[in-house]
């Protein structure tokens, strides 16, 4: 059957990002074999001043990019129904389509009424229908929300299209570089610079409620950790000790920050209570201890340490206590990141020459290398746990990539003109 074919290079979609003036392309390099055929019929639009966002186009791009769906191009569509009565299911069956989405966007005094319906083509039945109201500025968000609803209905997994990603870019002008912390929609649109400096910015970490980002800035020519509120742009400096102030990681309840400080000598893991402002030292080795990450239940901290000679992941209680080595395969395992269900840990896995993303199953301790780059780094789980976003490089081009946990589905987010790294998927 044709729809069981592997999707390769399904599409190249170019997006204009208003704030950064950078062009981003998303490319699906590998898809799953069972991608479901779905037709997103261009939504009927009614309005005096037009509709500023092509909602159905955004939905089509979201679903296609996920790798779970193969969308039908407009030219091949047998019609453009926008009401249930107008749908001829046989025509869509003949094209091998499993699902059909139709909809309308109607302007009403500057607001937009968006409605859509999802049908099972073979049964000729509606599976879902929604009507929602949106401002012009929220239309793109509404479209991502529709993608989430359809995705969850058909795959049983929560959609991640309305999420955001934070990342660091840097661009070089002669001897100087401009470093930016940016936040964009999950599809790369609406990129906004939330901090910019001529000195490095590092390690963005989302608060569990998605409202704040903690990050490291060298703007004063030494490291400090800031927490910035996205809605207002306000920020506070929470750590500026002598030496390293790095690797901030939020506790699941948002009340604490695990971080790395070297004020007492070697880098150690500390817990900063953001409410009481008290600081607790968690590790006390003479080796490098860094890159703490919390388990989703808040009980454990996983961190990188070279106490055994090479960097490996260790686990300990977030209350302190015994530290146990977690990784034994490979000469380099660093920057652990828990999956949202707490069952696995993604990491940077080095074998001597290449650095790739690997996932460890905590129950079986088996490690699965899921990428094939030469210098892949900074793995970050999607909030539904289905994908891992990471930074990669081919030749001189750095890009972000997302991969499914089994390594079978890959998509690439390429920005023009600047280095991009340290992606973090919002909760």
């Amino acid at each position: 059957m044709s729809f069981f074919r592997r999707i390769l290079l399904v599409g190249l979609v170019s997006f204009y990002i208003p704030n950064s003036h950078a062009e981003m392309t998303i490319e699906i390099t590998e898809g799953i074999e069972s991608a479901l055929p779905i037709s997103i019929v261009p939504f009927a639009m009614q309005g005096a001043s037009g509709v500023p966002v092509d909602v159905s186009f955004v939905v089509d791009a979201d679903l296609g990019r996920s790798g779970y769906f193969k969308t039908l191009d407009k030219q091949s569509m047998p019609g453009r129904p926008s009401t249930a009565e107008a749908v001829q299911f046989k025509d869509w069956q003949a094209l091998g389509q499993n699902y059909l989405v139709i909809g309308q966007v109607i302007e009403d005094h500057g607001q937009y009424n968006v409605q859509f319906q999802l049908f099972d083509v073979y049964k000729g039945q509606q599976l879902m229908g929604y009507r929602m109201t949106s401002s012009a500025g929220e239309l793109r968000r509404t479209a991502h929300h529709i993608s989430d609803l359809i995705f969850e209905k058909l795959t049983g997994k929560k959609g991640v299209f309305s999420g955001r990603i934070a990342y660091i870019t840097s661009s070089r002008q002669g001897r100087q570089s401009t470093h930016k912390l940016q936040v964009s929609d999950a599809d790369g649109f609406n990129a906004q610079t939330i901090a910019s400096s001529m000195e490095p910015l590092m390690s963005p970490a989302w608060s569990p409620d998605g409202r704040k980002i903690a990050y490291v800035s060298f703007e004063k020519k030494s490291a400090a950790i800031y927490i910035q509120t996205l809605a207002t742009g306000e920020r506070v400096r929470v750590a500026e000790f002598p030496g390293i102030n790095g690797a901030p990681s939020w506790s699941p309840d948002g009340a604490k920050l695990a971080l790395t400080l070297s004020k007492d000598g070697s880098p150690d893991i500390y817990i900063l209570n953001l409410v009481t402002r008290s600081l607790t030292k968690l590790t006390k080795s003479f080796a490098i201890d860094t890159e703490p990450t919390w388990s989703p239940d808040g009980s454990s901290i996983v961190f990188t340490s070279d106490r055994g000679g090479k960097p490996q992941l260790y686990i300990m209680s977030s209350q302190g206590g015994e530290e146990k080595r977690l990784t034994f395969s490979g000469s380099y395992n660093a920057r652990g990141s828990f999956s949202p269900d707490g069952r696995s840990i993604a990491m940077v896995h080095g074998n001597g020459s290449d650095y790739r993303i690997a996932v460890m199953d905590l129950a079986t301790k088996s490690v699965n290398v899921i990428t094939d780059g030469r210098s892949d780094e900074s793995p970050s789980f999607a909030p539904n746990g289905s994908m891992i976003l990471y930074a990669s490089r081919k030749g001189n081009a750095g890009y972000l990539s997302a991969v499914s946990l089994d390594g079978k589905m890959q998509q690439k987010l390429v920005f023009d003109g600047s280095e991009i790294r340290e992606p973090a998927w919002s909760p």
Binding site: M198, I244, R335
Partner: protein, 192 residues
């Protein structure tokens, strides 16, 4: 050199509570400012755009002899003081024998000029994870600092900062560049 003059001309500086290096309890947060909107549509940039406007120091920009402004011996190729970068092996913070005389020369100079201060900037190559490379860069800078201390340099003359892989000297992505990036730079700050 007014290196700091533009660094923190932040519109939001009033909101940044002061440093906490002396007292851990000073790590401060204000939490009452956020509104219910989780969106960032209205967020303006942080104001840093007009802020830190400098990269490197003026002395670094002079090229081959970054510390030439300190004295003529720093640009004399026959003087070990003209060398200001210590290179390291992969994943190592061990000072190699070749660089022992260079560090000794700087130590002697600093002992003889107690008003001079240096920043030892630790760096790494791009491979592996970024925060681990920060730690590695600091270990490298601290190895150099401890050799200086053994040779009598006062702690107050020495400052360590690690940039990890964030400020490469060479922008390639091969061993030739990586070798140049695993380094500690000795940056004189001028006399106090």
């Amino acid at each position: 050199m007014k290196l700091n003059k533009t660094v923190l001309a932040l519109a939001i500086s009033a909101l940044i509570l002061t440093a906490c290096s002396e007292d851990e309890k000073d790590a401060s947060l204000t939490d009452g400012t956020q509104n219910a909107a989780s969106g960032i549509n209205d967020a303006s940039t942080s104001g840093l755009n007009n802020g830190s406007g400098l990269s490197g120091s003026e002395m670094n920009a002079s090229g081959m002899y970054p510390n030439a402004g300190i004295g003529p011996e720093f640009s004399d190729p026959n003087n070990p003081l003209s060398k200001s970068t210590i290179y390291f092996m992969l994943d190592s913070s061990q000072v190699q024998n070749d660089f022992v005389p260079v560090i000794a020369a700087h130590a002697q100079y600093l002992v003889a000029h107690p008003g001079q201060r240096i920043v030892m900037e630790g760096h790494g190559d791009e491979r592996g994870s970024r925060e681990y490379n920060i730690a590695l860069g600091e270990q490298r800078a601290k190895s150099v600092a401890s050799m200086m201390k053994v040779q009598g340099v006062s702690e107050s003359q020495l400052q360590v900062v690690s940039y990890g892989e964030e400020k490469p000297a060479s922008f390639g992505h091969d061993e030739a560049s990586w070798e140049l990036n695993r380094r500690v730079e000795l940056v004189y700050q001028g006399a106090q």
